[in-house]
């Protein structure tokens, strides 16, 4: 039932955005990676939309008129969607918040800035936070973002509005976390594709509706009658990015009889592991929550050890039997890291499969064969 309601809501969402804009409500787009506090956008009375479209070749290829192929397909897809003007969500943006994270999305932001069709706020993200001044810088930038949002919306972001927004998004994080933790069960009561789609939906739909839907799903899963334990290989999905629409690999794994029970993906998944504080300076609370109190992505300095430790914990907690690394072509930091992780997994006899995508359809049959063979390895048949 919830999936039908969510699906209907999602289908109607572009019309809702058009209606909202007609009434003077601003729609604020932002690039993924969990560095942009939607709380600030929501507290300004605007609608946050995280731009996560990916997986298909058309938008990524459309961007080749602006950037060469060395820019990763996900970043190119963001440029391409803006150029093609076929995606109603991308057509609805009044302001784009571009967190300055990896070189690819940074370049996408610069190209869009250069094109001049869209107002852009660049949110500087210090790539390390072991010294106080880095947190101070990010906090200052969030204050500057607050001022910009107030200016564009004409609404004041009060502490009360911001506190309410943080509480709302904490609920969203809570329910996603609860749903995810249920995947430790065997069999998992929700499959990976559905869980990832929930994450993607949470970036587009109304947050209050999303929280209600997640609460209902979580409750339903708690009481769901599950069959006896499955012998499907339990897998962990790692990688830089899974765009909304980029589901081919997930579908192939499912078809091959595997079950992805956990993910650690940087772009395209919400960071639901930690809640944000609501006491004291709320901007500082946002800064700490989004910069420090989270798993760092691979481009953050000195992140490798923390990331490996977290991954090994996921493997243990979710009883993972094999790891699939879904790599986006040309993403240099994750590609480098995959080498190190693969060696560490080998030391612990954890099977590892590396799949690299540039969003073209030509690799599909290769992926299928390799995934099927990987299932056999995990099952001990090879």
């Amino acid at each position: 039932m919830e999936d039908i309601l969510l699906s209907d809501h999602f289908k109607n969402r572009p019309a809702q955005l058009r209606e909202a804009r007609r009434k003077g409500i601003k729609v604020i787009g932002y690039f993924p990676g969990n560095y942009v506090p939607e709380e600030l956008i929501y507290a300004a009375g605007a609608i946050p939309i995280c731009l996560t479209a990916g997986g298909g070749p058309k938008p990524a290829d459309a961007a080749l008129s602006s950037v060469p192929q060395i820019i990763c397909p996900f970043a190119r897809a963001q440029i391409g969607e803006m150029l093609l003007k076929e995606n109603p969500f991308y057509n609805s943006i009044d302001l784009l918040i571009a967190p300055i994270t990896c070189q690819h999305l940074k370049k996408a932001a610069e190209v869009l800035e250069y094109n001049g069709e869209l107002e852009i706020f660049k949110l500087g993200i210090p790539h390390q936070h072991d010294q106080d001044f880095q947190l101070e810088y990010f906090t200052d930038r969030l204050r500057a973002l607050k001022i910009r949002l107030q200016k564009i919306t004409g609404n004041e972001i009060t502490d009360e509005k911001l506190k309410n927004a943080i509480e709302l998004y904490n609920k969203m994080r809570y329910y996603l976390r609860q749903i995810n933790l249920k995947r430790r069960q065997n069999p998992s009561p929700i499959n990976a594709l559905d869980f990832i789609r929930l994450n993607h939906a949470s970036f587009y739909v109304d947050p209050i509706f999303m929280v209600e839907t997640l609460a209902s799903i979580d409750s339903g899963l708690s009481f769901k009658q599950m069959p006896s334990a499955s012998n499907k290989p339990r897998l962990l999905l790692l990688g830089p990015c899974i765009g909304s629409g980029d589901y081919t690999v997930l579908e192939m794994v499912k078809a091959a009889g595997g079950e992805i029970v956990a993910e650690e993906i940087y772009e395209g998944m919400r960071n639901y592991w930690q809640d944000l504080g609501i006491k004291g300076d709320l901007i500082e609370s946002l800064a700490r929550g989004f910069l420090i109190n989270r798993l760092p992505p691979a481009f953050m300095r000195n992140s490798t050890k923390d990331r490996l430790d977290f991954t090994l914990k996921l493997i243990k907690d979710f009883k993972v039997e094999g790891v699939i690394w879904y790599q986006i072509l040309c993403c240099e930091t994750y590609d480098s890291e995959s080498y190190y992780f693969s060696h560490k997994f080998k030391e612990q006899n954890i099977p590892f499969l590396f799949l690299e995508s540039d969003y073209s359809t030509s690799a599909t049959s290769q992926f299928k064969t390799r995934i099927e063979a990987f299932m056999e390895i995990v099952n001990g048949e090879i």
Partner: protein, 463 residues
Amino acid sequence: MKEFLKLCGYEDKEIELELPRVRKAFEKTAITSEDIERGKQRLKKYYDIELKGVRKAFRLCLKEFINSVLVKEDGKNKIIYGFMTPGMDVFGSVLATQSREIFAVHHCWAFHIVYGCIFDKIVPVFEDAEKKWLKAGLVAHCANVKSMLGPYALGYFPKPDLLITAGFLCETSPKTIDLMQEVYDIPTYYFDACQDREITEYPEATRRVAELAAKSARGLSRKIQEVTGFEIKDDMLAEVMDAKGRLNTALGKVRKLIQNSDPIPLSSAFENIWMCLKNLTMSIDELDEALEAINILVEELQNRVDSGTGVVAKGSPRVLATLPSGQTDPRLDLLLCETGIAVVALDYLFRLPYIDNDKDPYIQFATEILCQSMGTPLVRRIPLIIDGCKQLKVDGVLNKYHVGCRTVAGDALIIEQSIKKELGIPVLTLEWENFDPRVHNEELFRKKLEVFKMMMLKNKDRK
């Protein structure tokens, strides 16, 4: 060997003194007598080695290479490597001036010149790095970073006490040193800023980001003190920056001579040597030697200009090239000359017209880094390039982009479109690798350059 060292600017007395060290360093880095023969040929072919100033510049590069290899043998107690760290040369020069115990080097400048440009031995180094996490293939990891990992993995350089990089333009380097920390247990430090300046915020945003970078640089000083026990004081930095400023001024004279001459007296291959010279971690005394070398060269080039001697024919089309010159392979630069294209300047030398009068040396050099063409966001880099083209009165732009560098590669197509639209001059966009000789395709590049030259000549005639 002696002839080789003479070609590299060593005097007879110095050769006698240094020969054992040179032999030892070459043995440690697998440089054979065959390589030395090849090196002599390449120096004569690609570099105007008859110019004394050029020889003296090579001498300083070779010295730093040898010092880097023999650092343990030289009895240094602490070793610091910087890699892709703007400003590392300043810190390194301070340490070289003030301490006999600490060796700091900004890899891989001297290594590229010696191992790549002179001896053409760099490919196996990349191959070694490719066996680790900087694999070959479409992911196109930057070969510059491979030349940091490769020689270390091959044992050419000893394990440092601190490994530093900057993340202004690059994520590959910081990730690589993060992995080197995990794999080889090497302490690291990252010198960082945030490239979040928007076009509407210039020039004030530069100050904001420079303050962040300056704090990060002060953190670097503290880290160096923690590792070595040596305190880097502001006045030490100021003294070195002043000396380097004099070197920059002298290099500016070389560049002005080239920009204003027809025919140009020197090829763009030398920009790589000047970049290296600027980044060597020389003591103040050695900086004076570098200054002397460049001052000699200025005189020699003036003589060439006065006599009408050039590396291309008079009237050759004038071109601005983007990015630095090939850093391990001078073939493209020679090809430009052979085709009759005069590269009068490189865009990486352009800078924003923003001056910060703050006396804090950290703010000064952070601002300098952030004002360079490659250090600015696209929306500000393009007007710099267009203004540069107008001032230099170029006939075309060689828009080469280093495929391993996401930052500059991402700018290339927009640069081409903007120049064509604004200036109506031909632009040759060339996918290239600034550090990897394997991508050089002589025939393909020659054909492209010949067509490019024709287009420029036709465009000139039309005007």
